[in-house]
Symmetry: C2
């Protein structure tokens, strides 16, 4: 069976030692987010996710959501778990106190979210989407809408959903057809059908607040004619009580590869009453403000499943005896050695661990940058944070979800045949994590976003800033002999990333196909450097603490950092060669030749 | 929905042009395997697999096998499909005429098997295991057993199963506990429980012939005390009619990630009557003779699913309109362009295609080597073939199944959100193909087999022979300007493989952990060279035929070869660097540190 214990110690390392979170939080005006509070949240969050949420994970997959005549029933235990989540206040960590939230930093909430996603990724989508809807509404909704809807959403009594996709358009939202007709009362009537609406209908919350993208009658064609509307399942009376059922219904739910405990709905809006959120025809802009948050969260889903897979595989590899160590029996009195003695089993485990811990550090750092972007008092710092968040969000989303699938598959492999059998729980992880590469923008779209929008942004300022930052980091530690084994490979990697960036700027100027052809390799190259940076930074902390540490924590940090530098970083060689080979190999064949 | 049209033209290319099969077959004494017969088998096999077998694939996954009180019911349509398969004689292509087979080359049968596996991988396991049992029995069973059992197995009236794994041992068969007690009539009584027995029980055949590994009472411990027994579900009377039910029963079937139409059985043997096959205590040796065949077949499963995934994704990418080409609208009169205009979609498709077609060529070549190994009149040629088969079997098994999973995932990704939805059929491919990386020896075990057994074999003769062969091939074409773009990268790759091989020989002599630590990277490196060799050879044929070819076939061969050389081959850079970084990064951490 899959096992999960929240990696509290590693989270503490990232928050306290790597990010120096308490100091950062104080500077950003989060006065309450003390070191003690951070630890309390991590420890209590861990207990809650391990004991209340994780037990719902297998049954959620087995039962899935059930659809009957417009109603969706979530799997056994989901209602109780959701109630407990709301009552303990876990929904509201990073929400504003103005709406009943706890006003804590996003960065702290993100670590709780990792645990929640590890414990049950399908379940975590219901609060996750509510949080996303909260973010968008907080930024764009009128005060009246905020007042009426946000407190209930912060409590979790009402949940949120994002309604973008239609059957003929997902990536290319410019083609969407759902229509919004203005009514005399200042509201709108929405008509259309949306698909793939996660949490569009379910039995966990009293009301479900949809943020729906639709076109006004006079809207221009394409993406510049899309507006965002708040469309609640039940209308809300002046006093905040629930009124009549709105003109919207769930037509069916999808049968999916995984996340079967999450309802994926076809939603029909028939004269559904809605309210404009933000400006007319600026809906996509508003939606993206929420989607950046969602993208980091989806990136984290890759990590969350990789963590469970890793822990489960380590447990199995320590227990399962089979064969002998290459250097001779380690347990001569047993019929065989545990398979963790085998170098190739360790390769699968360490690859998962090195990528996961690196990803956790990176997610923590990018989350901190989002807090800085929003709250730093110095506009120069805000701009710097904004640049890096813009640049790294697609990297985090795409690479960490790719890594998650790779890690879950590697860890399943450690189980041999048992990994393929449902009751062991490993194949569920592979199925569940797979969606994270697809939704919130398929990973290829993020690669395109990186090379086509983020690289040229502000005449290349974000990527220049990042490369300078990395070079400064390497230079800062250049004299330290103890760190050379980490800084040298990182420095080489940064050179390769710089070369790739320069090549792309030149090649892209001549041929519009080049950015797209290089995009995926480029994103992966940048991701390996970003994770490598986190490992080098982690190592720079660990070398000073390894003496006298009797837990082995820092020794393991150093050995895992070494693994990353020697056995993962070399991939950057091939990526640079592949991406600079140009677009001809991709573009030469006619569509008919495929 | 997934679609499948058997790639007859590409199979013809491999057989007729790349392998010059007719000439080869004649030299090996397969006088009937003319060029015409080859084409007939490919064309009729294609029709059969597309129209009779492929329609059972989705329903097989949806229904799965059902277990009730020892009985296993296969999904709707499987019985009819199996009957049609037997009646048309597809089971017996490469079986000896002596037992009612058609006596055709293994190499030809293998191409039919690819189609059968593409059409329904789960279904293909029933005839596949029968064929495997046939191979082992033909080599090791007594004439009496052969006479009594093989003709019915060649017909398909009776099927075969391999019973190796027990709950506490899979890879490490030395620990197996099933016992065989000699009886007065010269037979044996078997007692024990086996797990993961594919096709151990089902409703397709009148009898099921198990080859069971078990220990004789006086057997030495470990792998040298294992014998192989033929244990039929129903005893067989002297006249060949079925007698009483044997003392064996299916205790349950597994719920699995995929291949749900294949029964995966727990088998209980209780005083089951069995007959020794081969010599006492030499059962593992006999089983491996069958497993080499099975391993090539399992490698091919990776290709088979990649092919269906590729065809389906190309179809979708041509139909689905979304966004615009980077160079400007290709279909300005439509609301958007088909997604096949996007470089990154092409990357996912071409990566699958380049690896699949390369794998098909490699599988064809290795299969031809198995025919040569068995039948060539010149013992030097037999030895050469044997060396290459031994070396390349683990490469084929592990790499092509890894590639299959990668390709199916990439092709699912092309579908975006629809890829994750069951009804589209793509996620089934990902689930089905995943087992091929695990069974018949997990891929890591094959990597170990390659570096620890195959490299040192005959003082390194097989790998030396292969490297010499590759170098000679590159040299042969060195003067050809037109081929430089293919031969130069291949030549570089061969140099890297040579370096890796030399490094491994030295490092492994000093530290027994090195081979295992390098194994996976080394196998992948050799595989990329092996596939690269096939692409360079394919290109050397295509350059001479591209002029005047109005089908585009040879032009596409060349462009796909270019893709492989420029965008896949560079991975060898990172693999060499990673594997020569040594085992320390893997072996340093204690088991507790994970």
């Amino acid at each position: 069976m899959a096992i999960y214990k929240a990696p509290v110690r590693d989270m503490q390392f990232v928050l306290h030692e790597l990010l120096e979170a308490e100091t950062e939080f104080k500077a950003l005006g989060f006065d309450e987010a003390s070191s003690d509070l951070i630890d309390t949240i991590l420890e209590e969050g861990a207990k809650f996710c391990e004991s209340v949420i994780f037990p719902t994970n297998r049954v959620g997959d087995e039962q899935g959501c059930k659809f009957d005549n417009g109603h969706v029933t979530t799997p056994a235990g989901f209602q109780e778990a959701y109630k407990a989540l709301c009552e303990a206040g876990w929904m509201s960590l990073a929400c504003d106190t103005e709406f009943g939230g706890q006003g804590l930093p996003n960065t702290l909430s993100v670590f709780f979210e990792e645990m929640l996603q590890s414990a049950n990724m399908a379940f975590s989508l219901y609060p996750g989407l509510t949080r996303g809807a909260y973010v968008a509404m907080k930024a764009y909704a009128s005060d009246e809408l905020k007042r009426r809807f946000l407190p209930k959403m912060v409590e979790g009594t009402w949940s949120g959903a994002m309604a973008l996709t239609e059957s003929h358009c997902g990536t290319d939202l410019g083609m969407l057809r759902t229509r919004a007709e203005p009514q005399e009362d200042g509201g709108f009537h929405l008509n259309g059908t949306k698909i793939f609406i996660t949490g569009g209908e379910h039995d966990l919350a009293e009301n479900i607040i949809h943020l729906v993208l639709a076109r006004l009658p006079d809207a221009p064609e394409g993406t510049k004619g899309i507006s965002m509307f708040l469309v609640p399942k039940f209308l809300v009376n002046e006093d905040g009580s629930l009124g009549e059922r709105n003109g919207m219904s769930c037509g069916s739910i999808e049968h999916k590869m995984g996340i079967r405990g999450a309802s994926t709905c076809v939603m029909n809006y028939e004269n559904a009453k809605g309210w404009l959120v933000g400006e007319p025809n600026r809906g996509l802009h508003a939606m993206f403000s929420m989607m950046n948050h969602e993208r980091i969260m989806v990136g984290q889903q890759g990590l969350s499943q990789a963590e469970v897979a890793y822990q489960s595989a380590v447990d199995y590899a320590r227990e399962r005896v089979q064969g002998r160590a290459p250097t001779g029996p380690k347990f001569p009195d047993q019929p065989a050695d545990p398979i963790i003695v085998h170098p190739d089993v360790r390769r699968m485990l360490l690859n998962s661990r090195a990528q996961s811990e690196g990803a956790r550090a990176l997610l923590g750092w990018v989350s901190l940058l989002t807090d800085r972007e929003e709250r730093h008092t110095d506009p120069t710092e805000r701009e710097a944070a904004e640049d890096l968040v813009a640049l790294l969000t697609p990297v985090v989303k795409a690479f960490i979800t790719d890594m998650g699938t790779e890690a879950c598959n590697n860890c399943l492999q450690v189980f041999g045949g048992h990994g393929y059998i449902t009751e062991w729980g490993m194949e569920q992880l592979v199925r569940d994590v797979r969606i994270s590469q697809i939704y919130e923008g398929a990973n290829g779209i993020h690669a395109m976003d990186l090379v086509s929008r983020k690289l040229p942004m502000h005449q290349g300022r974000p990527v220049r800033r990042y490369l300078e930052f990395l070079n400064a980091f390497v230079k800062e530690h250049a004299e330290d002999q103890e760190l050379e084994e980490f800084m040298a490979p990182l420095g080489e990697g940064v050179k390769r990333l710089t070369k790739a960036t320069e090549w792309l700027a030149k090649a892209g100027a001549k041929n519009p196909d080049e950015p797209g052809a290089a995009a995926y390799d480029y994103l992966r190259l940048m991701a390996l450097i970003a994770i490598g940076h986190m490992w080098a930074k982690s190592a720079s902390i660990a070398v000073n603490k390894v003496d006298g540490d009797n837990t082995g924590f820092y020794r393991t940090k150093l050995s895992t950092a070494r693994y990353f530098m020697k056995r993962v970083m070399p991939q950057t060689l091939g990526l640079l060669a592949s991406l600079t080979s140009g677009s001809d190999t991709l573009m030469a064949p006619d569509a008919e030749a495929f």
